[in-house]
């Protein structure tokens, strides 16, 4: 939240990677501290929360499952914005942001699937249902992995950035279509055993820990994202510096 707000506010300022590094250095301790604080508080609150009369203690899985699912979508949205930044504005940081976000998003999506599966086993009696929502998240996970694989396969950073950005954008346009088609497909073969978990009404005693956990994980995501971006900038600088050093050594030998 924090870095997103300042990013849109002082867009031009942070375009300079050096400025970004300065800002990241100042911001990171706060982000890390706040996310630890929120996560600890959220954990404590979720253990204090009462069990659901229908779902028993498994409702506690919700407190981590829902934030993971929400972050898996938010991360893809950030990557799409970054892809637009790469293609339209050729923003130097957009590509770094997209590249850093992909593995983090993949981990969060995987966790959403794993925790959902662990929630489904006691509730539905099976690890996996081809439910519309599960299937969509699974497709999202596959897309994360494809994007990471594509980015890693290319040596030239600038070309990899463009290629990944295009695939990310096409994927983003496709997500509503996939969601719609999976919904359609699911109504065709509706499995009988699926129990619609819970209702739309969540009690306040459940909602509060959930919100705190969501906030904590969102802060954690931004902490990790900024750290990974900083790593990526450093990595590129080091590659550039090595190249200069090698060229200098060559010139020295020639003289």
């Amino acid at each position: 939240m924090n870095s997103a707000a300042s990013r849109s506010g002082r867009w031009v300022d942070i375009a300079n990677p050096t400025r970004f590094l300065d800002l990241a250095g100042r911001l990171l301790p706060w982000l890390a501290g706040l996310s630890t604080l929120a996560l600890v508080a959220g954990l404590w609150m979720s253990f204090q929360a009462p069990d659901d009369y229908q779902q028993g203690s498994t409702v506690k899985i919700m407190f981590i499952h829902v934030p993971f699912a929400w972050l898996s979508m938010m991360c893809y949205t950030i990557m799409t914005l970054a892809a637009l930044g790469t293609l339209v504005w050729r923003h130097p940081l957009a590509d770094v942001s997209a590249k850093a976000a992909a593995p983090i998003g993949a981990v969060f999506t995987a966790l959403a699937l794993i925790t959902g599966s662990l929630w489904g086993k006691p509730m539905w009696g099976t690890w996996w249902v081809w439910d519309a929502r599960l299937t969509s998240v699974f497709v999202l996970f596959l897309m994360y992995l494809g994007i990471i694989a594509l980015n890693r396969a290319m040596d030239d950073a600038a070309k990899a950035a463009r290629a990944t950005a295009i695939i990310t954008l096409v994927g983003f346009i496709n997500i509503p279509i996939i969601k719609f088609s999976v919904d359609w497909w699911n109504t065709l073969h509706q499995p009988a055993s699926v129990l619609r978990a819970g209702g739309s009404t969540i009690d306040g005693s459940m909602l509060r820990p959930l919100l705190v956990m969501a906030l904590g994980f969102t802060l954690l995501f931004f902490t990790l994202h900024v750290m990974a971006m900083r790593n990526e900038i450093w990595r590129r600088r080091i590659t550039a510096m090595r190249r200069i050093a090698a060229r200098g050594a060559e010139r020295g030998r020639a003289e």
Binding site: S57, K60, I61, L118, W119, M227, R237, M241
Partner: protein
């Protein structure tokens, strides 16, 4: 009934903790590698192009 469910709750929290710890560990390790490489290059007197313009060394 309740007891068998506790295992699932514990497993999901453990999986989340493990995966996130792995992610954090990976990023921190990466950061340490980059920082060390940076220090190494600087100690050998290699500068970035934007910096070496300011003070012409060699």
């Amino acid at each position: 009934m309740m007891d068998s469910h506790t295992a699932f709750v514990a497993a999901s929290y453990a999986a989340a903790a493990l995966a996130l710890a792995g992610l954090v560990g990976w990023i921190v390790l990466d950061q340490r590698i980059q920082k060390r490489a940076m220090r190494d290059l600087e100690s050998r007197g290699v500068r970035r192009r934007s910096e070496s313009k300011a003070d012409k060394k060699s």
